[in-house]
Symmetry: C2
Subunit: 339 residues, 2 copies
């Protein structure tokens, strides 16, 4: 790698001082320089293939124009759309997005956070809201850096949160099932230490009680296909016979549930109806096509980014909680209750 071209090289070729080059090359200060010299500088820069050094600039301005995004699992299809939403609004403002994937691993999470902090990101968007493990949120609090929580983490650390309306989603799902004649419904929830799990489980309990349907809740060990497959054990072995409908903690759990149902010789939706959560990409291509609660994932990401930007510009965070509306997408995994 040959030595990179610096602002000094450009200055020499353009026969001006490097301060002038700096002014010429920054949109902010461009109008402070003579049109003629501006041209000369631009030409010189192009000729030399000058690429400004963001590290030097950041060091000087103490802004990296960089945002750190920490997510627990890139392989979960709900995250790409969220990231896309984030990037969409951030890139438009000249920010670069640094995505760190932690595989839901605590120590990775913490070291990713640390690494991003070292890079002096101007803010964080965190999608890792476990209730029991406040480490990252606490660290963020201690580091006194702008943070927006996404999707999970209601009320943690007093940071703003953007998410879909979990309670209403559950209401919609349950209403749909009841309308189809289901009277025995089990909620195959996510792990108890996710904040979303709690919101949804509480909403389920409340709605099911109010509607007067027989109900129960089982907790999967993760928000994955495997965990969904496994939690079916508990549900199938549960007292009171097999429920006629299941509300899953998310679409992956729903997929695991369906896999297991099939393995047990039960058909979906003829024998058991299943409702997912999130409406992740490809939900309609599974078998059966998933009836699920649609989350505006892209918009959630975009809104989080906007909130963060506002916080950065204002110099302080509003403790807003933005809840975006959800809707029910009825596809093939739900049907009339078997009588």
């Amino acid at each position: 790698m040959p030595r990179r071209v610096t602002i000094d090289d450009v200055a020499r070729l353009a026969e001006v001082h490097k301060a002038t080059v700096s002014r010429a090359l920054n949109a902010q200060t461009r109008d402070q320089v003579n049109v003629e010299t501006l041209k000369r500088v631009k030409r010189a820069a192009r000729q030399l293939g000058y690429v400004p050094n963001a590290m030097a600039r950041g060091l000087r301005t103490s802004r990296s124009m960089t945002i750190g995004v920490i997510i627990p699992d890139l392989m979960n299809p709900i995250f790409p759309p969220i990231i896309r939403g984030i990037e969409h609004v951030l890139q438009a403002q000249g920010y670069t997005v640094l995505v760190a994937n932690t595989d839901s691993h605590d120590d990775v999470e913490i070291s990713a956070f640390e690494s991003l902090l070292q890079r002096r990101v101007d803010g964080f968007i965190l999608a890792t809201g476990r209730l029991d493990d406040h480490t990252v949120v606490d660290e963020a609090k201690a580091a006194d850096v702008p943070v927006v929580l996404v999707n999970r983490g209601a009320g943690m650390g007093g940071f703003p949160l953007v998410s879909g309306d979990n309670a209403h989603g559950i209401d919609l799902a349950l209403a749909h099932l009841i309308e189809l004649g289901h009277r025995r419904v089990v909620h195959a929830a996510g792990p108890t230490n996710f904040s979303t799990t709690r919101s949804r489980a509480e909403a389920f309990e409340a709605a099911a009680t109010k509607a007067g349907v027989e109900h129960d809740t089982s907790y999967a060990s993760g928000l994955t296909i495997e965990a969904g497959f496994d939690v079916a054990d508990e549900i199938l072995a549960g007292g009171g016979g097999c429920p006629t409908a299941l509300v899953a903690g998310n679409d992956l759990v729903a997929l695991g549930l369906i896999r297991r149902l099939r393995a047990e010789g039960l058909r979906c939706p003829e024998d058991v109806s299943v409702v997912g959560f999130n409406d992740m990409p490809f939900a309609e291509d599974f078998w059966p096509p998933l009836t699920t609660v649609h989350m505006p994932l892209r918009e959630i990401g975009a809104e989080a980014a906007r909130l963060l930007l506002r916080g950065i510009d204002a110099g302080e965070q509003e403790a807003a909680t933005v809840t975006l509306p959800v809707s029910l997408v009825v596809r093939g995994s739900t049907g009339p209750a078997r009588t």
Copy 2:
């Protein structure tokens, strides 16, 4: 945001010179400092919550310890595993991975590259191998920065490439179909300007000719479900009646094909068999479960990262081409030819 703690603050508290702090905090030079002072420094650093400034360090060392990864579409499920493979080996070496998603948009691609270059990434991994549009590769060439191509882009710019064995994958797929009795097979390939499309299409032509089966190739406008859905037009309307089997350019195209088949009242695999390509996550959860060519995606990413690291350390790139073995995963989307 209060002023950040610097190495000077630590030095003052520990009552040593900042140079000593620097030495104490870097693994490389740690043994140059007295055990006692080391302790003092560490304590002071912890006490103050010192976080080293990567920009300042990078500016001084002219290494950002950062790798840029440019991918065309985060929503395509083949990329998360690849990214994971990349991160796995890079993080172990202390590198941070900057992922830029371009949505297959030329100008976004170029500006993402530029942005990464400004950040002085130590190298690039590019997954954007279109044949007609050399811009990024050319820019990379001009910038004289270490690059490894991934998945696509055979032979572009003389950069190393890591990919799966496309030709062999096609051979496996075709052999499987022929064994099932298919004699009229169409290749629903990707866009003509992807290098993978060419390798696969050529292999298909060769293998089908050699096997003596009736065959044809149609080109989808993208590697997406929609493009797969649309290219079915051409195939269904094609002369010589409907083929009994299709080899898709990738799994998404396969999904689109199947959607369309269903829309036309054709069943898969009873009426038409479909083979996908990549074995993307969830391939087994679709309906029917996808028979597809398995690509070792994670390993492809990991190998690309290793190759890049070697190039960076050596100061020059080997022009290696690494081709990883593929295999056929037979699931539900292929069956005996209708006679």
